[in-house]
Every structure is written in structure tokens, then in C-alpha cells.
Amino acid sequence: MIAKLFGHLCIIGVIFFVIGKIDFSILHSGTVLHESTHEVLFFKMESDQEGYVWTNGMSRRSNKVHISSIGTRQKDQQLSCDKVRILATGSSSTFGSGLKDEEVWSSLLNRKFISEGVDAEVFNSANPGWGPYHWFNFVELNSVKFNPDVILIPLSFGDFTFYPMTIDDGERAAWVDRDAAKKKLLNFDNFISYSLRKTMYLLQSLKQKYQRTHVDEGLPLSEAVSRFEQHFDNQKNYLLSLVKLAENNRFKLVFFVRNADATKSGGALLSNLIELSNAYENVFVFQIHPQEFRPELQGDEIKTYYNENLIIKNDGHPNELYSALMAERLFAGLSPIVESIENPKNLCQ
């Protein structure tokens, strides 16, 4: 009886694998976007590829995205001249996880720059999972390649909670080796890669579900300001390094706080960044706040509105409506900064 059942399970497993191979290799080739293991950045989308970026839940519903040959999230984007060059970096929300290429805030903003006759272009080089450590290192490594006039970082309080704060410098080399081995395995086969990632995701979300009450002490991070401040302090030095880098390389640094749900931690992040901008004249800060687009909403109404209208269901990333609001707000905030730059660095010769 048990042997028979085991036999059936094996047959089902084999058929499952064959269907997966057909689906991922023939019907949807290039399904998984590969990441390279970089010794400083750890992980980074490879240039010039197309595929799905797996959003929360790793459902196949996630949209297919294109990475340009310069590593930005816009199909066929090339470095242009005679325009103010805005290099954007950030996490998955800045990357536009779950959105179609044309719905991402950076695409909308570039279209708006063209239609309004503003000589500027955004290069969205965000990467899902990135935090302050990555932003600083990415800009440092790419400041020659992009030679930007402006560095734009759309961010939120959640970007300060993740990796690599848990890895000590001494362990980093070993971690990179382990990660390289993992990537080798994950990049070996599209379908196996997907299955492994999804299984890991399912196990991880199950673990998180039961850990949450112990870790969060009943209060979500969005409201637990002291806990957020702790995370911020842990990673503040990367932001300060970024400011110094901006000073040395003569580019303006713009922080854009995505605080559309008006959380307390979002507010705390904004005040910390305002302190920075007051101390350094090349640093600018602005935010997207619900009062700007729904002034009639108050308190919990804002959170309800945000959850129902501004995020992708089952996912938590900004949806196309939020993305459009970001583009509008960024256009209003960036235009004066762009106009203040009399001579863009990258002139056509």
C-alpha cells in the first residue's frame, strides 16, 4: 500500500517536472531573471536580460520585465548626453516589482520629462532587496560609468531593516562564496531554480508568520519608532558615506520618502533625512504624503485607503496608481533641482 502510494507520488513528481520544463523552457522561456554574485553588492540583476521578477508569493502573475544593457529597468535604455542625468537606486519598490515596464515610476517620469520639455533622464538601477549598504556601494562603483548629475533614492522605513546588517565584515567573504554556490545552483535550470526559490519562499513566509509575534512584540515596525530608529542608526553611516561621495563628485543627492501610508516610522525617517539635508546643501528631501492627493483622509482612513488602493494585492509593493503618483510628485520635486543645474555634466561632443 505504502509502496504503491510512493510509486504514484514519484510518477506525479516526474510529470510535474516535465510540465514545468515545457512551461518554463518553451512557453515562457527566460522566466527567471538571473542575478550575479558580486563581491561587494552581493546580488545584482544581470544586464541585458528579460524575465519575471518574483514578487511576494512568487506567483507567475508577476509581470515580465526588461533589464537594459546598462543594467537599468527600461528596455533598450542607453546613456544619453546633453541632459541632466539622474541615477536612481533603491529596493524592489523603486525597481517596480510587480509592475509592467511602462507602469514603473521611472518610465512615467521620463515620459513626463519629454512631454514637458525638461532635459533630464532617469536611470532606474534599483535592485530588489537592496538597502543603504548597497545604494552607497552601487553609486561608488558606478559613478564613473553613469557620471550622474543627480542621485535619486526613493526609500521607505522598510529599507533599513534588511541585510546585510546581520553579516559581520569578517564573515562576508565566506558568505559571498556560499551565495555564489547557491546562485550556481539556482541559475542552473529555470524551472528547478523557480521551484527551489518558491519552496524557500513558502518555508520562509511560514517561519516569519510564526516568528512575527515574538520579533515585533505586537507592534508593526511602521508604528514602532524606537525600533526603526535603531535600524536607522545601524545603517546611517552608509547614508553619510553617500553624502560625502556626492560632495566629492559634485552631484546632488535627492532622497524621496515613500510615505503614502503616513506611518510613524516613515515620519521618523523623514525627520532624520531632513536633518541631513539641513546639514549639507547638496542634499534634498521630499516625500509623497497622502495629504497631498487625498487631503480629506485622516488617521486610519489613510492606511485603509493605502492598503485598498495603492499597493498590489497579495504583494505589498506600490501598484500602478501609486507609481503614477510617485512620478508626479517626483516631477514636481525634481524639476527645480534640474533647472538649477546650468550645465549638465555629460555634453554631446
Binding site: I12, I15, I19, N309
Partner: protein, 468 residues
């Protein structure tokens, strides 16, 4: 604790193991504790309502049976009905009626605040109160004898697989299964496992994925063109069917695994040829309840043509209101009542043909009528119904890009259920899967596992009928 969560499968695993180890009587005690735990996981405070309903009906059942004169019998059956409908009325309809009354008073510039209580709706209240009432009423009608085993009766009221969203069982069918020894056959276990699996697939792959398309459509309802509305409404017709019948399949499946047989609640409803056929196939346990405990006591079709139409209308409007305390459900009930009346009136003029062409046309027409009903059912307000209907009649702008993308999304999720149901219809067998050779079954199972794993909705959503 939702059926489509990890917690439920752990819970059921433990219950199943204990169940298989225990003899019948302790099995019932264990199932009762498990059922109360299952319900208490949602909100333990509302367990008290189930216990009140259980005690009242247990007492009334015995008293009705023991009473010699009809007056006393009537007194106890009335007590049972008042308590159950009182619980249901207060917890489900107080907010609705108080808000409607306040709205009415506001017309006269009077806005009293003493009507606002903000009552929480307990999960499954419409199901277990209806189920419990059948016990007292059936004893009163001398169709059933009361049980003397209080805990067995308590299990009948709170049996966890069908406690929160049905099927609404009759005491005459479920109680004997609780009282008598049960045997779990190999075939029953196989069918049970398949129903759980199939129900899960309908919920996770079809209903939860279509929910995204439907929610998006209804969030932007004012801007939708007629073709877009059609796609959204067709998507909702499959969403609600797969959500509710998926739940029922899981409920019936886990009951089978425990050796119980619950009644069939859906029998290919979108193959109905007319409105009365639809109600013989959709939510069968509710429609037969309404027929036996409302329509027939009102006089059914025995008191003349006009009275029959009134009875049909009253039954369906109350049936609509049973679904939810909102005006769109009243309108939906009225719409369904009108369909039944219209069918009753016009069917005498229509030919009764059974050739494939006529049957196909009838099925398609009925599906269109059902879909318009779902447009009303899913709406959040009466103005939404008006705008959608207006756009449906006038705005036939075709944006091929949106249509292709939404239509493609719809087709991607509904094709398995369409293929399966056509097969079930022509084979006239809902469990036709067991007619296939074992290797074909393995292929079907592998495809379903694949679709759930790769394309299934990532986060478990609540079942639509939980709110009723």
C-alpha cells in the same frame, strides 16, 4: 482558521489521527471539542451564541416531543424560532436596519445616535442558526425524534467542516450519522481526499486569482466599458462559484475522511436551463431549506397563481437578505424572484424541446441571466449597480489591448473548471475522475499540483460566504 491555510491542515491532521485511534463515543466528544476550538480560533466569545442555540433547541426538541397538546408544541417550536432568528436578526441585521432607519430619519433632518451599536457579525451565524432550527421544526412536524444525547446534538450544531459556510444540513440526515457507528471505506477516503484537493484547487488557483481581476474591475467600475464589464462579471461568476463550491468540496471531503456524508451543495449550476433549474443546482442546501421551511409554509403553489408569485418573490427576497444585510442583496433577491416568476409565467408558452441546440441556447440564456444577478450581488451600492447597468447598455467602446489582457487573464484561470464541468455534464458524474485509468489520474493530479504551485494565489483569502 481557513480551510486553505497551513494551520487548518495541521489542525485536521491532529484531529484525523486522534479520530482514527478512538472508539465512536469518544470520537464524538473529540469532534465536539475540535469544532469548538475551530470556531473559537476566530472569536471564542461567539461560541456562547452556538451554545445558547444548542441548549435552546435541545430543550425545545425534547419538550415538543413530550408535549401532549398542539398548543404547547407550538409554544416550544416558536421559542426555538424566536431565539435563533433573534440571534441572527440582532447580530446580522441590527446595523443594517438601524442605518437604514437613521437614513430615513435624516430625510426629516433628524439624526439620532442611539441606533448606532456597531454589532460584529459572527462567522457562520446564518448557517448554524438555519441548521439548528430544522431540528425543532422537523420534530414539530413529526418528521424526526429528538435525541437525548446532548453532546451528540451539540456536535450536530457545530460540526466543524460545515459550521461556518455550510452545506446547511438537516438533522434527519446528519444526526443519525453522529449517533450511529461509522465506517470509513477505502472508496470514501479516496473520494474525500480528491474533494479536498479539488476544492483547494478551485479556491487557490481559480477563485483567488480571479478575485484580483474582479476587485480591480469593481474598484474602477465607473470607467468600465460594456465589454470590460462583461469580462469582470463573467470572472466573478466563476470566482464566486469556485470560492463557495471549493469550500463545500473541502467540507464534504474532510467529512468523508471522517466517515460522514454531507449533502451535495452544487450540481453544475451554470448548466441550468432555467431559473428554477438554477436553484436546484446552486447552493442546494439553502434553496431546499427555503423551499421546505419558507415557500411551502407560505402556501407554495397551492393557493392560486397570484399567491404563488407572491410566495416566490417573498422567498427569494428573504433568501437575498439571508446572504447579507445590504440593499444590493435585497435587489438581487428581487431579481431572482422576478426571474422565477417570469419563467413560471412564460414557460407555458415555450416549447419543451430537448435537442442539443435548444438545450445549449437555454443554458447560455440562463448563464447570462445568472451573470447579471452576480453583477448586482457583487456591487457595493445601488448607485454602482445603476452605473454598471447604464454602461453595459450604452458604452460599447472596445479597447482591444485591455480586452485582450483581461480576457486572457480570465481564460487562463477558468479553462480547467470549464473543461472539467463539461466532462462532468456529459458523463453525468461529478466524480468521473475515478472512471479514468490510474495513470491518467496521476497526470491530472500533477497538472493541478503544478497550477497551484506555480500559478496559485500567493496569499490565502477569506471565503466569500464566511461573511454571510
Amino acid at each position: 482558521m481557513l480551510f486553505n491555510t497551513f494551520e487548518f491542515f495541521v489542525f485536521f491532521g491532529v484531529v484525523y489521527l486522534l479520530y482514527r485511534m478512538l472508539p465512536r463515543r469518544p470520537q464524538n466528544y473529540m469532534l465536539l471539542i475540535a469544532s469548538y476550538f475551530f470556531y473559537g480560533c476566530w472569536d471564542w466569545r461567539f461560541l456562547s451564541l452556538i451554545i445558547v442555540s444548542t441548549c435552546v433547541d435541545y430543550y425545545c426538541g425534547i419538550k415538543i416531543h413530550e408535549s401532549k397538546d398542539d398548543k404547547a408544541k407550538k409554544k416550544f417550536v416558536t421559542l426555538s424560532i424566536i431565539v435563533n432568528l433573534g440571534i441572527l436578526g440582532f447580530f446580522k441585521y441590527f446595523n443594517f436596519f438601524s442605518e437604514s432607519f437613521t437614513d430615513l430619519l435624516s430625510v426629516f433632518n433628524y439624526a439620532p445616535s442611539w441606533f448606532e451599536l456597531n454589532v460584529i457579525l459572527p462567522v457562520g451565524i446564518s448557517f448554524y442558526t438555519f441548521q439548528t432550527m430544522t431540528y425543532s421544526i422537523d420534530i414539530y412536524r413529526k418528521q424526526l425524534k429528538p435525541t437525548r444525547h446532548f453532546f451528540d446534538f451539540a456536535l450536530f450544531v457545530s460540526f466543524f467542516p460545515q459550521l461556518v459556510a455550510g452545506p446547511i444540513e438537516r438533522a434527519s440526515s446528519l444526526l443519525p450519522q453522529i449517533l450511529n457507528p461509522r465506517k470509513i471505506s477505502h472508496q470514501q477516503s479516496k473520494e474525500g481526499a480528491w474533494l479536498v484537493f479539488w476544492g483547494l484547487f478551485k479556491k487557490v488557483f481559480i477563485a483567488d486569482n480571479l478575485a484580483i481581476l474582479v476587485d480591480r474591475g469593481y474598484a474602477n467600475y465607473a470607467t468600465l466599458s460594456a465589454p470590460e464589464i462583461i469580462i469582470v462579471v463573467v470572472a466573478f461568476s466563476f470566482q464566486i462559484y469556485c470560492d463557495f463550491s471549493g469550500y463545500t468540496d473541502i467540507a464534504r471531503g474532510i467529512s468523508k475522511l471522517l466517515g460522514f456524508e454531507l449533502r451535495l451543495n452544487f450540481n453544475l449550476p451554470y448548466f441550468a436551463r432555467n431559473p428554477s433549474d438554477f436553484w436546484r443546482r446552486w447552493h442546494i442546501s439553502l434553496s431546499t431549506w427555503l423551499r421546505d421551511y419558507l415557500y411551502i409554509p407560505l402556501g407554495g403553489n397551492r393557493k392560486g397563481e397570484l399567491r404563488t408569485y407572491c410566495n416566490l418573490m417573498a422567498t427569494m427576497v428573504l433568501g437575498g437578505l439571508w446572504h447579507g444585510a445590504a440593499w444590493n442583496f435585497v435587489v438581487w433577491g428581487f431579481y431572482q424572484g422576478s426571474l422565477l416568476c417570469a419563467h413560471r409565467y412564460f414557460s407555458r408558452f415555450l416549447p419543451n424541446k430537448s435537442n442539443i441546440f435548444w438545450v445549449t441556447i437555454s443554458i447560455l440564456c440562463m448563464y447570462i441571466f445568472a451573470c447579471y444577478g452576480w453583477l448586482i450581488f457583487r456591487a457595493d451600492s445601488l448607485s454602482q449597480i445603476t452605473i454598471l447597468t447604464k454602461n453595459l447598455a450604452s458604452n460599447w467602446t472596445v479597447e482591444s489591448k485591455i480586452l485582450l489582457s483581461d480576457g486572457g487573464e480570465l481564460l487562463m484561470y477558468v479553462w480547467p473548471i470549464v473543461v472539467f464541468q463539461i466532462w462532468q455534464y456529459f458523463k453525468n458524474n461529478l466524480l468521473f475522475i475515478f472512471d479514468f485509468p490510474v495513470y491518467v489520474r496521476d497526470v491530472i493530479i500533477a497538472i493541478i499540483v503544478y497550477l497551484i504551485f506555480v500559478y496559485g494565489a500567493s496569499e490565502s483569502q477569506g471565503f466569500i460566504y464566511f461573511q454571510f
